[in-house]
Structures are given as structure tokens and as C-alpha cells.
Amino acid sequence: MLQFAWIILLFPLLGLLINLLFGKRLGKSFIALVASAAVFASLLTAVGMAAALLALPEADRSVTVQLWQWIHIGDFQVNFALLIDPLSVLMALVVTGVGFFIHWYAATYMLVDDKHQDLSLRLYGRFFIYLNFFILMMLTLVLANNYLQLYVGWEGVGLASYLLIGFWFYKPSAANAGKKAFIVNRIGDFGLDLAIKWRFCRFGKQAGSLAFNDIFAALKGAPDTTIAAMTGVTLLLLLAATGKSAQIPLFVWLPDAMEGPTPVSALIHAATMVTAGVYMIARSHPLFELVPTTMAIVAWIGALTALMAASIAIVQTDLKRILAYSTISQLGYMFLGVGVGAYTAGIFHLMTHAFFKALLFLTAGSVMHAMHGELNIDLMGGLRKKMPKTYWQFLAGAAALAGFPLLAGFWSKDAILYEAFLKSPLLWGVGIFTALLTAFYSFRAVYRAFHGEPRSEHAEHAHEQPGGMTAPLWFLTAGALFAGFLGLPLMFGEHANVLGNWLGPVFADLAEGQHGGESLELTLFLVSSAIALLGIFIAYARYIPEWGWAKSLQNIFSPLQNMLEHKYWVDEFYMSFIGDPLRRVGQWFYRVSDGKVIEGAVNGIGKYTVVAGAYVARLQTGLLSMYALSFFVGVALILLYFLLA
């Protein structure tokens, strides 16, 4: 059965081809139907794949489906092939599952454009073609059985992201944001690209392939020098992951990516694509495990990114930007998880985050529509009564994000923090402080947007969105509330962690992690709960009764305010220390090196040739005997040279 797993890729491909070729004749509802049905069919296929894997004994749950030969030159042999194992199937389920609900939502959401005019049929079709293309590429990425094919998906989703961020192509800000996203990601891809080559030259050659399983097998018993080289390879992979998953130092593109339509922010820039870096590290864990240094760097990048992004999120006033920084921050938690070797926890958070963050973005989209495009939370207020369904949905998402006890985000974040504590209490400290900030900014958004009195004309006249938009969100709401029960911690019993058991075969090669015992687990569990509730309480105190002490808390941060509002000036730093200097070098090459030096030399040669020609012309005496003499002297000299040489 699994041999036919490639049809999961066929559906989105067909969907996009149908809409590309016939979209204009089909009309909007049919376009949306085709695109959504394609993703739904892929979802069913993914469910089928999961069932087929379950039927296999645990040790055999890794099936490779060869598709066709791709690049074969000498010992460089790469095929297109699918790797079907619990990890890739879980990713496919998340991508197609969340993807389907987002398609459903977008069918209504995208009927109007950014100025709330009717969206043209052409653009509507284009949107769904891009979305299907994204699903196709994302599935290519997660189902790849080798690094080069992963790279195809990796850049393919980057392309989809570029096209969709710049979907309102006539807006300069959107066009610039798309370009920035692509280029920053390419900087990361530089790492992936080099890492692949390096790996091939190191042991891909003996293995004869770049397939994950072959490379990991070749690692076993590899000499120490190879393992030393792995430091470089893993750091390059990490660079790639920081690009795609918007971590320090390459996170700058993601906030700008909010220029894209909201379903795109939900699907690509929250739920799926940006988690590719986490997936790739989890997939490459046999490599990373060899290099503790890189693992530590991954964990610290994750922790610091989580903290930094959360600190920016507390001062943002644009609802989507709050969510964007929140995404960066939550991805930081995932990095922290995989960095401390808690792969299952990292992937668990990836999954719960996909639900609640997609939900938050889509409800933000509903709010945005109700507010006629206004996203500033200072101008909202009182939306709870105007759009009750959206309110409850947003509240569920925000509570899950804040780590409200027993909701999805709580369990997965807690799983990461627990394992981080076992590695380093300092990492845990950063994580738990970030959790406080997270709870605060989540409920700041809830209270500012939905509670109190309307603070603008638009908020006054806001109204609930049609069923086409609210209905799919209930499914995501269910995920945000209950998905956490798939990964219950050990204290609930050996088999409570359904997700852990499912992923078990993938991470079977890892040494059994240490356990801190049930009392530690329980303590940290309670601390996390308290912190989440504290954060929510501070947000309440600050924004609802507006107590003085809560307002004065702000004074502590006021020296930082300016820095936070400018996002630590990272963008400015990159522009003035990398972007601009490179352009200046280009200008200099063009004007001086090309224009003066090389052209000068060439023209100089030309000029002296003319001058020399004038001298030589004097030799044209017209005397035949002179010519004959010089001819013979010349020939004699040449002959002499070669006879002697």
C-alpha cells in the first residue's frame, strides 16, 4: 500500500494544474473547491499512511518509496524518493490537516482584496494555485528521503512564501517584504547547500547517496576526523534552520512577512513552513547528537530567540505583528527542545503550535476584516460583544499560547521546559521567564482587542464574520484545547504519551534520557501553571481595572521601550553593515574597476597599438629586398627558438 504513497503529492499538483489551466472558466467557488479538495485528499492519504505504518511492527516503520533517478554523475547518485516513517507522516498530517482548514477559511476570506474591494477572479485563482503549490512543496520537504530533495522542498516553500508575501504585488511594502524573505532565506540556504556538499564528500561517497538513512548508517563507526567535520556540517545546517524558522540571527524576515494575506501568515508563517528548521534538525538528529557543541548552540539560540521575540511582542500594537513575534518566540521553544535532545517534545510543540497559532492568525484575520483592515489593537476594544464566536476562538488560541493549564500549549511547552531543566536550569530559567512574557502579551492582545469599550469608529461597527470563516476555526479551536492530551508527561503513566510512542521508532537510536523523578516533574508542572496564571493576571490588572501598580510595572521597562520598539535595531544593523556596503562594492566595481581600470588598460593597449602601428608603417619602405630580408630573419629566429627549445 505504501508504495502508492506518492499520490499524496499528486493531489495538490493536480489541484494547481486544474486551477492554472481552467481557473478562469471555473469561477471562484469552484476554484476554492478544487484547491481544498486536493488538500483534503492529501489529508486522507496521510491518514492512510499512518494506518499503514501502524500495521507494521515498530522496527519496520520506515519505508522508502523510490520514484525516479534524479542526478547521477559518477559516485554522486541522488534519486527522488519518499521516506515514510512516523515523523514524516506526522508532519504530513499537520501540513495537510491544518492546511485543509486554512484553505476552507481562505475560500471566504479571499473574496475581497486588501482594500476590501472584490478580488478579481484572476487573483483569486492565483492565490489558490500558490497555496496548492505550497502544500506540494511542503510535502516534498517532509517526505524527502534525502537531503537534496529536502532542499527542493525547502526552496520550493521559500518560493511559495515569496510569492504569497508579495501577493499584493502592487504594494511596495509587500513586494519588498517578499524579496527580503527570499534573500534572507537564501542566506540560510547557503548553509544547507554547503552542508550537503560537505556531507557528500565526507561519507556520501562511500554510501553512494545522500539519503538520510544511508548517511546515518555511514556515521556509525566513522573515524573521529569525520565526526570532527560534523561540527562544521551541523553548524551549517543550523544556519539553514535559523533562516527558515526565523531564529537569531536570521529572524528579520518573518515580521515583514505579515504583509501577505492572513491565511498565508497562518499556514506558512506560523503553522508549517517555519517549522521546517525544527523538523530538519529532528530528522538529522543522528548528526547533531555527535556534536554536543552544536546542540548547546541550538538550545541557546532557541532560548534567546524565544526571550528576545517575546520581549518585542509585549510592545507591538499591530495584532498580526504581535503574533509574528510570538511565532518567532514559540519556534525558539522548539529549538530549545531539539537542542536539549527533547526531539519528541520539540515536535509535540510544533504540532500544538500549528493548531493554536493558525487559529490565532485566522481569528486575527476575521478581526481584520471586521475592522476594515485595521490591525492596531489600540483602535480596537469591545469586540467581544460584536463578534462573540471570534472572541471565544481567539481566547482559546491565546490561552493555549499562554500555557493556560491543561490546554495544548501548556503540555508541549512544559515538556520542553522539563527536559531543558534536566540539561541546564539556566536554560529553564530563560524559558520560564519567557513563558511569563508570553502569557502577558497573549492576554494583552485579548484584553486590548476584545474587552473594554470600542476605541474607534471601525470597532464600533465591527460585526461577526460569515460561517465560511468561523466554521473551520472550531476545528482548530478543538486542536488548541485538546491536542495537548496526545503528549501527556510520564507521571500520567508509561503509555500516556501517545505522540511519544508514535515517534518512538524514529528516535529509537537515542540513549534513554534521564528522568528527574515524579516530584520534580510535578514541581515544574506547578511552577509553569503559576507562571502562566501570573502573566495572565498582570495583563488583566494592567488593562482591565488598570491598577496603578500594574501600570507602574511599565516603568521598569521604559528604558528598554525604545529598543524594543525598534526590534533591537537588527534590521538597521544588517542594512548598514552588510546590504549597503555590498552595494557600494558593486558600484565601485562598476564605476572604477570596470569603468576605469580594465577599460583603461584595454583602451591603452588599443592606443599604443595605433602608435606602434605608426612606427611600423615607416618600415614600409616599398623596397622588396627589405621585405624579403625581414621575412627571412623572422623565420630564422622562430626556427632557431624551436630548435634550441
Binding site: W68, Q69, W70, I71, H72, I73, G74, D75, F76, F80, R122, L148, Y151, V152, W154, E155, G156, L159, Y162, G166, F169, Y170, K171, P172, A175, N176, G178, K179, F182, I183, R186, I187, D189, F190, D193, L194, K197, W198, F200, C201, L582, R583, V585, G586, Q587, F589, Y590, S593, D594, I598, E599, V602, G606, F642, A645
Partner: protein, 494 residues
């Protein structure tokens, strides 16, 4: 197969365009002239496809023809094709009908002469790729200058005469020394025949000089940094068809020359010079990219991008590894397809708007969606997006370069980032943003003819990107044989 051998297939491929060109002279009406030209180029493309039908996947010279031409001087009409030249031949014949179709309506001035030059140009280029006799090769090589000189000088832009003369003198100067060495080769080795020369051992000191003379001619043609300054002028001034031929095919004569002559004829010298050539190639990659980044004229942006892209091809060649060289052979074709397509597409808007300045465009997606969508696909092929053709060649080249010297690959891969930067800058300038230039409001989208002529190129982007096996199966054996010859050379440095 037997029948094909006796049939002079290679001669037919070379001379058909010239026959068509002469035939064209007998027609008066513009329409019939165009039809003759188009039919001829289509036929010669179809005839060249026969090469694939009779192809054997080995390293031999296939479809050889060998006739005595000037027996007194031992000059033969010796033709042959192997995996290194096969796809360059097909690329050349494919561009034949494409440039004729492109020029269908937009050449107002003496169309017959224009098409005559295009067709004879094609003969010249095919001769270069198929000649196995050095004198014959040299004659074709020099001949290719003439039609292009007139195409630029007569139908070019404002500064056309300067550009044409520069093009002519620059490349002419480069090949002068090559002629001297060809004569010396005969004098020392007793033959002009490539097959003979390649097998005869050659004095190492002579090789070091001969290599330089050939390399100079080819480096200028490619063009390799710092011999590149003729290219932006020639590209910007040339009419679109000229730019397409120049970028699509003519530049590849340089990289082809290295593969066909420098490496196998002077294997010892090859080892001596590869580090230098690699450094020049890498400088070209980064330099070309950064200069492309600051261009205001989109055609000159693409011209500089060519310098960067051919730097990759050159790097693959001098890596002297199977992946690097096979990748370079394929990437030569890829660059021809994608840069040729870029020039065609820029030509299409140029014909409508008569400007190439990025600042004059913007927001075209609103007005000409088909053009814009295709432009983005072409740009992505050029950027080397995985799944499209450019990636396959580029990645193979860099795998080869990494094995030769990891640092080469590191610096060259930086060029991959820059490629996205400058090409997306072009997309940002042309396609995206508000449609605020009034004149762009009247732009019309692509005609069926224009879509038709772009279609084969775009289909090939995907075919090569996803199924390069068909191509590598034919390229690899020839490359392996070439590398064996080169490996027989000793490293002179150590």
C-alpha cells in the same frame, strides 16, 4: 544506425541554415523571406534531433565525417560530435527558429539581410562545435564574428558602432595567438586533426605556452574576468536576437573551447593553470553578481549576470572532477536556455516600451500578467531554484568544486545568494510595485507567437530540472574519457 553513418548528418546540420540563407535571396516579399527562414531553421532543428535517434551512450566521436579538404596542407574537413558538444549543437539549432520567430514583426529595416546574418551565424556556430580539424575550427571560429559584428553594428542601439567594433577587436585579438599556436602544433606534432593531436604526447614546456594562447581566446569569449568588459556593451547595444544568440550560444564557444582543446590537448599544462582559472572564475561569479546588483538598465543587469553564471561553468571545468565537468557541460546549456529566455522577454517589453531602464517599469503584473508570470519563471531558472534546470548544473558544479577545493565551493556558493538578490531586484523593479508609469498603461500582453517561442525554453527548464538523467547519460561518458586524458597529465607544480 548504419544508414545514418553514411548520411552526412553533421554537414547537413551545419550547412542547412546557409542553404536557407541563400535560398532566401531569391524571394522578394518580406513574408516569403520570413517563411523560408523559419522553415529552414525548423528543418535544421528537426534534422539535428536525428542525432539523438542514432546516439550511442559512449565516449566516442559519433557521426564522424572526414574528407580531405586541402590535402597539400593536410587540412581536412573532419566533423564529429560527442557528449560534450551534442547539447550545444541542439541548443544552437533550437535557438534558430526561436530568434527568427522573435524577429517576425519587429525588424523594420532590411529584414532579409538581418535574417541572412542570423542564418549564416548559425552555420558558423555549429561549425565551431562540430569541427575536429583545428584549421576548420579556426575558420568557423573567426567567421562567427562577422555576422554578429554586422548585427550589432547595423541593427543595434545608440552606441552600436562602438560596441560592434569593441566586440570585434577584443575577440579578434584573443584568437590571433591561437592561430599561431595551431600552426605551431602542426609544425611540432604533424597534424591539424584533433583526434591525432589528443593522443600524441606533447612537450610540456610547449604545452604551457600553447595553453595560454588557447585560453586567452576562450577566456575572452566566455568572458572570464578580467576580459569581460566587451560583453555588457555588446549585449546592451545588440538587437534582441543578437543578444539571445550571444548569450545563448556564442559565449559557450569559450567554455566549449576549454573542454575540447585546452584540457585534452594540454593535460600537463591544465594542472598548472587550473588554480588560477578557478580563482578568476570565482572572482567573476562574485564580481559579476555585485555589479549586476547596481545596474539601472535591465539588459546590462542580465549581461553581468552572464559573467557570474559563466564563472560557475568555468569553475566546474577546472574542478577536473566528474561532477564538476558534467555539471559544467549541462550548465552551459542551462545558461543558454535561461539567459536566452531572459533576453527574449526583455526584448518583448523593449519592443513595446523602447526603454530598458528598471525605473521606467514597475507593476507590470497588473497590465501584462502572462509576461510577468513567465518572467518570474525564467528568473527562477536563472536563480537556480531547485527543481528547475539551473540548480542541477550549478549543484553538480559545486559538488565538483568542493572536492577540488572546499574554499572554491564556499565562495562560489556566496554567488548563489547574490544571484537571488540581483534577479529579484529585477523582478521587484519590473513586475511588482505600483503601476505608476503612465506609458506602461498601454502595454499589451504576449501574443500567441511570443508565447509559442518561449514555450520550448520553459518546458526545458522543468524537464532538465526534474529529469536530467537523459542528459547526463549522454554527457557523462564523454566527460569521463576527457578526465582520463587529463589525469594522464602530470601536475607540473609538484
Amino acid at each position: 544506425m548504419e544508414n545514418l553513418v553514411s548520411f552526412p548528418l553533421l554537414s547537413s546540420i551545419i550547412w542547412l541554415p546557409t542553404v536557407g540563407a541563400i535560398l532566401m535571396l531569391f524571394f522578394q516579399s518580406e513574408r516569403s523571406v520570413k517563411i523560408v527562414a523559419l522553415t529552414t531553421t525548423i528543418i535544421s532543428f528537426l534534422v539535428s534531433l536525428l542525432l539523438l535517434a542514432g546516439w550511442v551512450n559512449d565516449s566516442s566521436m559519433q557521426f564522424q565525417e572526414n574528407l580531405a579538404w586541402i590535402p597539400q596542407l593536410d587540412i581536412n574537413y573532419h566533423l564529429g560530435v560527442d557528449g560534450i558538444s551534442l547539447f550545444l549543437v541542439l541548443l544552437t539549432t533550437l535557438f534558430g527558429p526561436i530568434v527568427v520567430l522573435f524577429s517576425w514583426n519587429n525588424v523594420k529595416d532590411n529584414l532579409k539581410a538581418y535574417l541572412f546574418l542570423l542564418l549564416t551565424q548559425q552555420t558558423g556556430m555549429l561549425g565551431v562545435f562540430l569541427s575536429l580539424d583545428l584549421v576548420l575550427f579556426f575558420i568557423f571560429w573567426e567567421f562567427t564574428l562577422i555576422p554578429m559584428y554586422f548585427l550589432i553594428g547595423r541593427w543595434g542601439g545608440k552606441n552600436r558602432v562602438y560596441a560592434a567594433v569593441k566586440f570585434f577587436l577584443y575577440t579578434m585579438a584573443g584568437s590571433a595567438l591561437m592561430l599561431v599556436v595551431i600552426l605551431l602544433l602542426y609544425w611540432k606534432q604533424g597534424s591539424f586533426d584533433w583526434m591525432v593531436l589528443q593522443q600524441a604526447p606533447m612537450d610540456v614546456r610547449f604545452q604551457t605556452w600553447a595553453f595560454v594562447a588557447f585560453a586567452l581566446a576562450f577566456a575572452i569569449k566566455i568572458p572570464l574576468f578580467p576580459f569581460h568588459t566587451w560583453l555588457p556593451d555588446a549585449h546592451v547595444q545588440a538587437p534582441t536576437a543578437g543578444s539571445v544568440i550571444l548569450a545563448g550560444v556564442l559565449l559557450k564557444m569559450g567554455t566549449y573551447g576549454f573542454l575540447r582543446f585546452n584540457l585534452p590537448l594540454f593535460p600537463d599544462a591544465t594542472h598548472l593553470y587550473t588554480p588560477l582559472l578557478a580563482v578568476l572564475a570565482i572572482i567573476g561569479i562574485l564580481y559579476g553578481a555585485l555589479v549586476a546588483l547596481v545596474q539601472k538598465d535591465v539588459k546590462s543587469l542580465v549581461a553581468y549576470s552572464s559573467i557570474a553564471h559563466l564563472g560557475f561553468v568555468m569553475l566546474g571545468i577546472v574542478s577536473l572532477t566528474a561532477q564538476g565537468v558534467s555539471g559544467a557541460v549541462l550548465q552551459g546549456v542551462n545558461h543558454g536556455l535561461s539567459t536566452g529566455a531572459l533576453f527574449l522577454m526583455i526584448g518583448m517589453v523593449y519592443d513595446r516600451r523602447h526603454t530598458r531602464l528598471l525605473s521606467e517599469y514597475g507593476g507590470l503584473w497588473k497590465k501584462v500578467p502572462v509576461w510577468s508570470a513567465l518572467f518570474i519563471i525564467v528568473v527562477l531558472a536563472s536563480v537556480g531554484l531547485p527543481g528547475l534546470n539551473g540548480f542541477v548544473g550549478e549543484f553538480a558544479i559545486l559538488v565538483g568544486a568542493f572536492q577540488a577545493n572546499p574554499w572554491w565551493a564556499v565562495f562560489a556558493t556566496l554567488g548563489v545568494i547574490f544571484a537571488a538578490w540581483y534577479l529579484l531586484t529585477a523582478v521587484r523593479g519590473m513586475v511588482q510595485g505600483p503601476l505608476d508609469e503612465e506609458k506602461n498603461g498601454n502595454l499589451t500582453d504576449l501574443t500567441k507567437r511570443e508565447i509559442l517561442l518561449l514555450a520550448p525554453l520553459i518546458i526545458l527548464f522543468f524537464v532538465i530540472g526534474l529529469f536530467p538523467g537523459f542528459f547526463f547519460d549522454k554527457i557523462n561518458p564523454a566527460v569521463d574519457a576527457l578526465l582520463q586524458t587529463v589525469q594522464s597529465g602530470t601536475d607540473l607544480l609538484f
